[in-house]
Assembly symmetry: C2
Homo-oligomer: 264 residues x 2
């Protein structure tokens, strides 16, 4: 079974059955998590456990935890008071289908379930939950600054855009990549030094991903050339951070190449 299948099966086990009371909540939680997403973060988590010499299975519960947490952030981002999106990945968003109150609550329950699930790791639970909690605050901070950034873009305030963009890049994307990698490394029995290597890997992967994503979306403050330079620099730093780890890092190195360099 590959990483993606492991994650899909485990997520299905951790989510409430659609008919579980209250049914509106269970159905909305499943709607938010099922049928979509490349499951990048949980796959990073499993691969990080392997990279430090552990087994992918060691990190399966933290991997589900990071995906459930990521899913809740999308449910809340889509709300009318936030991005006001009615579709995500070709499906109605949670608030469009289940109402605004149920979407707020389904997101809240997914976050609680994320932590409950990650706490089922076989070792280093305090470090794992500390990591998920800290990055879980960070991703929200990134979202708050991103709302400021959107307003600055709309008013053409380029100085404010430059001041906010690096903070948003680090927190909005890289924080959950770092949580995934560090939780996986802790769950796989990694040393603090190995966990730190995985953190540097994930930070740079997250930055490279976001530089490119914003350029593709037309939101980047950087030129195509500057974006290309930054993406190459970050990707190289990500791969370099994997050097000397005791386990197989093929998956993570391949992921860096697959995730970035899409069109730049």
């Amino acid at each position: 079974m590959n990483y993606l299948e492991m994650v899909e099966q485990a997520l299905d086990r951790m989510l409430p059955a659609v008919a579980d009371r209250p049914a509106a909540l269970s159905a909305a939680m499943r709607w938010a998590v099922e049928g979509g997403g490349k499951r990048i973060r949980p796959q990073i988590c499993l691969a990080a456990a392997v990279a430090v010499g552990g087994m992918a299975e060691d990190a399966l519960m933290p991997a589900c935890g990071i995906e459930l947490l990521h899913a809740y952030t999308l449910v809340h981002d889509d709300l009318p008071a936030m991005d006001n999106d009615t579709e995500r990945r070709g499906k109605a968003t949670v608030w469009t289908k289940f109402g605004e109150a149920n979407a707020i609550l389904a997101g809240d329950a997914l976050q609680a379930l994320a932590f409950e699930t990650a706490a089922r790791a076989p070792r280093n639970v305090a470090a794992i939950i500390g990591e998920l909690g800290r990055r879980g605050v960070g991703v929200v901070a990134g979202q708050v600054e991103d709302l400021v950034l959107d307003r600055s873009r709309a008013t053409g305030d380029t100085a404010a855009v430059s001041a906010a963009v690096d903070y948003v890049y680090e927190h909005k994307t890289a924080d959950l990549f770092m949580a995934a990698a560090c939780m996986g490394a802790w769950a796989g029995g990694g040393t603090p030094e190995q966990v730190e290597q995985l953190r540097v890997f994930a930070l740079n992967l997250g930055l490279a991903f976001q530089y490119e994503d914003d350029l593709l979306d037309g939101d980047s403050p950087y030129s195509q050339e500057e974006t290309g330079r930054r993406v190459r620099e970050s990707t190289n730093a990500a791969v370099a951070a994997l050097a000397g780890l005791p386990g197989d890092t093929t998956f993570l190195a391949a992921l860096s190449k697959r995730l970035v360099g899409r069109k730049v």
Copy 2:
């Protein structure tokens, strides 16, 4: 220093400084937690550690965790899409003061911080986080059913009210009381049997509290006599559950008497 002072000082340490970036988030988080609340749940948590023979300090981080989680539920309950409240305890609600998007995000960050904080307990972190996560999902389930209950009350559907009310009582109030008591017992080094005693205590205390609260609010499906009978029965069951615990249970027993019997 009494339990309340311990909790207030520790919460102040765990929350970001008002000026911490992003300032809108830090200020909203503090607004939600500061200056209000009887801190019942964290005090139950500290007293539970003592009841099993541990020290109150052992449970200080889980105590802050349960209060932060409780605070986020209030921030989200007050939102326009939910109860649409503009004041709480004589202060503007978070969404009224900081806007709807920031209120959603401040609640989200408080929940993440709740788990990060609880994970700093000195022992049994996996059990503690499992408890907080499970009850954190439960309290949301209670809120979903409570929205259904409000609609049933509005339409005078008494059969639907009766069907939902016990579920709501157990989950909306008792779940966080149970989390507080069980996390405190685990943090204090309690045995699984002692943790279960504290759970039964907290379930019954939560039910007694909610029976009375609803009667005072005019929302109860039960008569004054029936409410009085249920409150007495639950309070007695709560106090009885404390029998045989190795530590001092005076605080918990006194709390049961102080919290209930207010006007019934």
